[in-house]
Symmetry: C2
Subunit: 307 residues, 2 copies
């Protein structure tokens, strides 16, 4: 079996209320990764600013932007200049009153290779995303027989990217659908942290659960997984909670869920690591999980609950 | 929220070609767990003998037994004597030429509460299960409106048991279906090990992947998970492989995937630990994954592949 090496990079950073500062940190990280030879670089979720979903305010919709727009222009220019495939994230304004949490993939030539609108939207204290983001549309077939929306990998010059966003990471269904659609890699830009008021043990249980389930997507599907998460403390502007301490812990795992690279919880880091894409098929030959799926017996997965 | 405590036990043991010796080891473990107050005790997969699927031999079908039969009689008697719910495993002869890998649940009164026929059947060098075991039937509706077969939890006096077997553990679909059907716990009797000829790093990657994916089922579904696996080296009677070194590592995890109890890789152990079943709902309130499943967009999960 031939080795198909892909050098990937990710940027773990703190964000600022000043968009220019956030962008400068991202851009420095992307340049550092590219300088180390990364062919694919991923930024974290909503990397151009603070995690604004800690409270609900209609004024914050002003942060949203169109596609194409300022972020895709900036990211596309950077991708082209560095000759890399670049994955970014933005607050998308699709129409007045219709907004999404969207990840974008810019090709080496600077064009938009594709976008993914977050399908599973959280809503819990400090993460009021259902106020801001409409869930992505289910897949629909276009007039020319193509597909758009839903769990659709994005074809790029470095492979088919199974790009998902944050809350999606808790859903094995999402990872599986990407794998069944031919994804070569699973990618999760995220913004998650703990409530500083929670006991240390609880915060650690949450962080460990988050690492575990994403590694499990690698295992279940025999695919590498790339996860980028923010760091830093961000106060809750409403004062209702103690704010969020984002836990970093970005990582790259191979197709058995094994760690290939791992960032800490507190510092800005750029991870660059080689992934052997041929290893995915090798792992799938030994553990041929796709072979034995009981699609004749999975019908109830399409139900909300059995009652 | 009230605390609903359930004390669970599991038996990690080596097995022998002598059925009486295997049974004695299981029974000693079950008695030890019950003596420590366990209300639910689980044995590992195919605990009455060596893992015979290392090679293919038609003579080995002689090991199969009916339900009811010797194993359910023994297990039922033990459950009744000790006043526990007891989960066992056996090689089931359903009809001449039709065999299953079946887990059984015996109620405190000794009756059979239910059985589960392994739905996903492996087949790889040293694990020739497709030769021996027909996969369990997909769920069908019975004449009285009930359901049988498939991913159906088993109602007992200690809760609804989402009982699955070994290779099922690699399939998030199986765990999810049990959760959607109201399971209170996920249980995995297993028999898995590594090829001693593989490098240590590979064996450890495999074991870690196996732990990770089962913990992830706890996380994804907000349910405790109980896993029992055998220990010991068993040679390959055919001499084609180096045999199997079963890696033990049985464990109990809580609904965030956190370890509650954990056995080592080499020794017989009986684990007994308290599970707070009320905590599952608490965790699901904070991480309401069931709320946000995109059942409108999961249709392709019922396909083999998207091509």
């Amino acid at each position: 079996m031939t080795t198909t090496n892909l050098r990937v990079g990710l940027v773990q950073q703190a964000c600022s209320s000043d968009r220019a500062i956030s962008i400068a940190a991202s851009e420095a990280g992307v340049r550092a990764a590219a300088a180390q030879g990364a062919q694919l670089v991923m930024l974290q979720e909503l990397h151009t600013g603070l995690y604004f979903c800690q409270h609900e305010s209609t004024e914050l919709f002003d942060l949203a932007e169109s596609i194409p727009g300022p972020s895709t222009e900036w990211l596309g220019g950077l991708a082209k200049e560095l000759g890399i495939v670049l994955v970014g994230s933005l607050f998308e304004r699709r129409a007045p009153g219709l907004y999404h949490n969207t990840a974008v993939v810019m090709e080496r030539d600077g064009r938009l290779a594709g976008k993914y609108r977050k399908m599973h939207i959280p809503d819990d204290p400090g993460y009021y995303e259902k106020f801001y983001f409409t869930p992505g549309d289910a897949t629909e077939t276009t007039a020319d027989g193509g597909r758009r929306g839903g769990f659709e990998p994005i074809q790029t010059s470095v492979g088919k990217l199974g790009l998902l966003v944050c809350w999606d990471q808790w859903y094995p269904e999402a990872a599986r659908l990407m794998a069944l659609a031919g994804a070569d890699l699973l990618l999760y830009p995220t913004a998650i942290g703990a409530n500083p008021a929670d006991p240390f043990e609880e915060r650690e249980r949450q962080r460990e659960a988050w690492v575990t389930i994403q590694r499990s997507h690698a295992v279940a599907n025999g695919l590498p997984v790339i996860v980028a998460n923010r760091i830093g403390y961000e106060p809750d502007p409403s004062g209702q909670t103690e704010g969020a301490k984002f836990w970093g812990s970005s990582f790259v795992a191979g197709p058995q869920g094994e760690f290939l690279a791992r960032a800490g919880t507190d510092d800005a880091e750029v991870l660059v690591v080689d992934i052997d894409l041929a290893r995915s098929e090798n792992v799938r030959r030994w553990w041929p999980f796709l072979r034995d799926r009981r699609i004749d017996a999975y019908g109830d997965l399409l139900k909300r609950y059995r009652d």
